[in-house]
Symmetry: C2
């Protein structure tokens, strides 16, 4: 605990500007003051392939900006999943120092610590804006940075998908009972909830979803949303496109920085990484919000039948998800984050339910 508290004090700092003043001069116990601008070349390992261009691209946006900010002296080389390390070993790789940075989804590592899910998304959790409010200005960053201190990692929000779609189905879902025996590709906590609702949950890599749907090996599959789903051609092998993706209401991707590597950066390089991460966070969501609408329109024009999950499915999933999330609270660290996250969700939901949503609903229903 001593170590963690030290790290917390060192990296968290005060609250100016997206809580990224973590890297204000003097906040970090850098071993020596560097003069001049060193030429650096870092490795950033991504959990994503180039094909998932909106998500993978966030790391490139960061790397490009950091290079420009430092006159080309600080170069970050971005490696897609599998080139240097496997997709799901990004945390371990940054922890060990194999790579100085990573770009990944923290919920891939809930086997190490279930609380890491709160850094990405949980079923019926915060939306993108609610998450950014919590993490940048609502105390969320302190809680998450404490978690990552155990891995010698400093985390930065690094992109968001918005509420994902509920996925592609070849069977109608008109009631909870229709889920029983349905064979669906859905990983993570969404899969665990679906399992409790009677779904035969399948774990299939993204590239194998299409043939599995085509030959009827599965009845349904979730991926991301219109833009990514359109590229994989799911509309050709599935009839119904359900929403909302209640299991991923605002998936936040994260940049990880090795603490040892961070501590060796001159202050203005630390600022370059921090501010470029913030830009990449905004940029990914803006890209999704720019490309999803047209993809959605094309899918609808192409004959995809868009359906909302019925209320009883939402209710059953909500109850099951809440029970699942409660199970972690035996651990005090998890409980602390869970309580803060849940309280935040309650206040944010009440506020967003007024102006933001009634306006949006009016525009949609008009």
């Amino acid at each position: 605990m001593q170590r963690r508290n030290f790290v917390k004090a060192a990296v968290l700092g005060s609250s100016a500007g997206l809580l990224l003043s973590s890297c204000a001069p003097g906040d970090i116990g850098a071993p020596s003051v560097q003069t001049g601008d060193p030429s650096l070349r870092w490795r950033l390992v991504s959990s994503f392939s180039r094909g998932l261009d909106t998500i993978f691209g966030a790391a490139e946006v960061l790397a490009e900006r950091v290079s420009h900010l430092t006159g080309g002296r600080f170069r970050i080389l971005v490696y897609p999943a599998g080139e240097l390390v496997p997709a799901f070993e990004v945390l371990e790789s940054v922890q060990k120092g194999t790579a100085q940075m990573g770009h990944t989804a923290s919920y891939y590592y809930i086997g190490k610590n279930p609380a890491l899910a709160f850094d990405t998304t949980v079923p019926f959790g915060l939306t993108a804006r609610q998450f950014n409010g919590w993490v940048y200005h609502g105390g969320g960053m302190d809680l998450l940075r404490s978690l990552f201190a155990d891995y010698n990692v400093i985390n930065f929000p690094g992109g968001n998908t918005g509420v994902q779609m509920g996925g592609w189905f070849n069977r109608e879902v008109n009631a909870v009972s229709d889920l029983r025996g349905l064979s669906m590709r859905i990983p993570g906590m969404g899969g665990r909830v679906m399992d409790r609702l009677g779904v035969a949950v399948q774990q299939i890599p993204g590239g194998e979803i299409y043939p599995a749907l085509e030959r009827g090996a599965i009845d349904a599959a979730e991926w991301v949303g219109p833009y990514d789903d359109e590229k994989l051609g799911f509309a050709q092998v599935a009839r119904y496109y359900y929403y909302p993706g209640w299991w991923e209401p605002g998936a936040n991707l994260s940049f990880y920085v090795s603490r040892a590597a961070w501590n060796q950066l001159p202050s203005h390089y630390q600022h370059a990484v921090a501010v470029a991460a913030a830009e990449a966070n905004l940029d990914m969501l803006s890209r999704y919000d720019a490309v999803n609408p047209a993809s959605f329109r094309r899918l609808v024009e192409g004959g995809t039948e868009v359906r909302a999950f019925p209320r009883d499915v939402m209710d059953a999933a909500f109850a099951s998800a809440e029970a699942l999330l409660q199970e972690g609270t035996a651990d005090p660290e998890y409980a602390k984050i869970f309580d803060a996250y849940t309280q935040w969700r309650q206040d944010a939901t009440a506020w967003f339910g007024t102006s933001e949503q009634t306006f949006a609903d009016y525009m949609h229903g008009h």
Copy 2:
């Protein structure tokens, strides 16, 4: 047109990273290559007072980050409204070079060009996420930069309020007929729409709203949302708090940079300004999303009666706003932006109406 096209080609560049590659090396015809890092001190004039801390603060967030990114060599001094220039002369001031930068709302200048409203917000316009999608990755930046080229200004999005509240009322609004003769403080295009609906529109500075409501000189007033409104104490002098603020569904604040000053910056200083503007944009919305929920809860707990505008008020306002926005289309430049904005809104509204809103509505109604 020659000049404008040149500027457009010079400042727009390609599309990597929030369309801010405008400032990639070589894109800008800088008069000479600078070696070393010059010590610079710029003036940034804000249209806002320190009291409006979330909005005013965005300029401070930018200035602080730019300073850190440049080892303290590039300092931007932020002046609140009225210190160097009056609140509504920010555009003119940057155009003339009195200040190198400004932070303002472009709809203050629709007297110069009505199309400038699309850089901030229009009644029943884009939400914050929809605007960011449009401006960063949907072609919006090109259109807006062309507008600002007439003023020798390069614009960057610099913060968003989200959907504002509809304001404070001491009379109930149960139908359009209740608006007739109502005396309301509401500036800008919202005021013009309200005027058409029979409201006696009043123009009153923010600091004078409270006493005007208190002594009954006005029946209603709009300001921003829970956080800002709570500070001004409106709950003590008005009974009903209506939503949504359909006239400001996602007010974008903008940073202006004098083109002459911009062209003298070394490339990495240009990048520092551009990336810090992106961070400030995300940061302001995140601050609002962090502080509004608690303020909203306190207002409700304190007895404020929160009401939705009735459907017929929304419909009448929508029809009136659309007619108002159409009036500008005689001007080809306005028409071009109006068409792009309206098409964008249509696609975005259809998409956001599925996953994003049904999820949020479920959480709120649950």
